[in-house]
């Protein structure tokens, strides 16, 4: 899922400067799962903002509402009746959610309350790790289920650079070397031939805004499809 992280309170306050009534919108999807922007986090942030602005002697009112998912218009529709009562909207969803929200309410300033970090996994409660760069051309079948694009600091395709130490990336001792792991896994599976072969320069697919329209739905969205 998408993992995100709260922005510093001061940065959020700076964005909200001058707005008296703000609607803080949570997201019940990924943001909620990674404890960055669900109902609980909306309440927590609102309390912090209220207390902080009050301490500054600034008149400020913030309310919260969490929708099922901000990346779906039908869930955003729940906000339609509320939005008019506020000068600005704060969103605790990922960057996709923030943009969809801004698209639905083009007259309202919409501000992000979190930084979208990566597509990752829950290693444990409150511990997330990146796994995917959504590069659009998956090589996991060759690399033993370990992604060199997301997990290698240099995104190498033909084996490790000269730097791994004790199985760790030369850049950060807390990060395992993707290629040491790829090697070990393929070796254990008897599939080392996969990486003895040259992997030629790839054609990067993530060049422009991604868009997928499923074949079965094409006729619904594209006029000239027969």
């Amino acid at each position: 899922m998408i993992k995100s992280k709260a922005k510093p309170l001061e940065e959020i306050k700076e964005m909200l400067k001058g707005y008296k009534r703000v609607l803080n919108t949570g997201c019940g999807g990924c943001a909620s799962v990674c404890l960055a922007g669900g109902m609980k986090e909306v309440d927590g942030l609102n309390t912090k903002l209220s207390v902080s602005f009050k301490g500054d002697g600034v008149r400020f009112k913030v309310d919260g509402f969490t929708v099922e998912r901000q990346c779906e218009m039908e869930f955003l529709a729940e906000l339609d009746q509320m939005v008019e009562h506020y000068d600005a909207i704060l969103s605790m969803a990922c960057g996709a959610g923030v943009q969809f929200l801004a698209e639905r309410y083009p007259d309202k300033p919409v501000f992000p309350a979190v930084n979208t970090a990566f597509i990752g996994v829950n290693r444990d409660l409150g511990w997330y790790e990146e796994r995917c760069k959504s590069c659009g051309d998956c090589v996991l079948g060759i690399t033993g289920g370990i992604c060199p694009v997301a997990m290698c600091a240099k995104g190498l395709f033909n084996g490790p650079c000269g730097g791994p130490q004790d199985g760790h990336c030369e850049v950060d001792k807390d990060i395992p070397c993707a290629w040491v792991n790829i090697y070990e896994r393929l070796k254990a599976q008897g599939r080392l031939n996969n990486i003895y072969k040259l992997y030629t320069a790839r054609e990067w697919e993530d060049q422009i805004q991604g868009r997928i329209v499923l074949e079965a739905y094409k006729s619904r969205y594209v006029e000239d499809v027969k």
Binding site: N158, G159, C161, D166, E170, L198, Y199
Partner: protein, 307 residues
């Protein structure tokens, strides 16, 4: 001849090659290159010009290489994958050749987090092995990476790096094999201190027939002082400095440590000259260019052959 460079000719004639290294300055003064180059003139067959090494901004390696050409010396133009995409790389390769550069060393590059602009955006559009194969395609097929014809193809002598001490050790010789398959003509290794492991690696390369397909230049860096040895042992990724090196430097008084470092280096070179599969040495006297004449003299590598 693939490129007709001095380095290629010396290696092709089976002579023991010596390459040096010169780091461009953190400034725009051409004189700095000239001054450093004087120490290397006649001492080495080709001089590696590093490309923003350790991800620290320096004068461009192509510009510095060109300045070396003007000095009548032969550069080995280093190019890393960190800062350029395939468009910029191919463009630079055309330009470099037009400016008289004939050797290239293709590298991934130190990660930007080590450097002076740690939050810069990395590129790594292609990796070092893919770069080798691209330079070969440009030379041998006269085509760009996309398959289109090049009007006047650049004919580079293609180098790549190898680190026999990197993990996983068993994979290292296979990575060498991949670089050769991609088109590397010569290999310059990481600085060698752990001779035992290097002997093992070169034996594997010999056994796999790799040393018949590529010229391997063993990398050496003389220790200037005990502090440097300790630093390299602990802090430089991919560097394997065994304790015996530290002990030898500890065994002499401080002002004799540099001499001891050079002595160790010369002993290594002596062994490399006799080692099957080693075609030369790559002498990386980091910010110590002025000691190169002394080192090559002591190692018995002078005079350099003219071909």
């Amino acid at each position: 001849m693939k490129s007709g460079s001095n380095l290629e000719k010396i290696l092709a004639e089976g002579k023991f090659a010596v390459t040096g290294e010169l780091g461009p300055p953190r400034g725009a003064n051409a004189g700095t290159i000239k001054d450093k180059a004087q120490h290397l003139k006649g001492m080495v067959d080709s001089v590696n010009i590093t490309d923003n090494q350790t991800a620290v901004v320096r004068m461009s390696s192509m510009a510095a290489s060109t300045l070396l050409v003007k000095e009548g010396m032969e550069p080995n133009y280093q190019m890393v994958c960190r800062d350029r995409n395939r468009i910029a790389m191919q463009s630079d390769i055309l330009g470099a050749y037009a400016l008289g550069i004939r050797n290239m060393l293709c590298l991934s590059g130190d990660h930007q987090l080590f450097g002076d602009h740690p939050k810069s955006r990395k590129v790594f559009d292609i990796d070092s092995i893919q770069l080798v194969s691209m330079v070969k395609k440009m030379r041998d097929e006269g085509k760009f990476l996309n398959g289109e014809e090049i009007a006047d193809p650049p004919r580079m002598f293609i180098g790549a790096a190898a680190n026999p001490f990197g993990e996983p050790y068993e994979f290292r010789v296979h990575r060498l094999a991949k670089k050769i398959e991609a088109g590397a003509d010569f290999i310059q290794t990481q600085c060698i201190y752990n001779m035992e492991r290097f002997r093992e690696w070169i034996k594997q390369a010999n056994d796999m027939g790799l040393t018949e397909k590529v010229y391997i230049l063993a990398g050496v860096t003389p220790m200037k002082a005990l502090g440097m040895a300790r630093y390299m042992q602990k802090n430089v990724p991919g560097m394997d400095v065994p304790d015996w090196v530290i002990k030898r430097l500890q065994g002499v008084e401080k002002k004799k440590q540099a001499g001891e470092g050079i002595a160790i280096c010369c002993e290594q070179i002596e062994e490399f000259r006799e080692m099957k599969g080693v075609a030369g040495v790559h002498l990386m006297a980091i910010e110590w260019e002025h000691r190169v004449p002394e080192i090559v003299e002591k190692a018995g590598l002078l005079p350099r052959p003219t071909v």
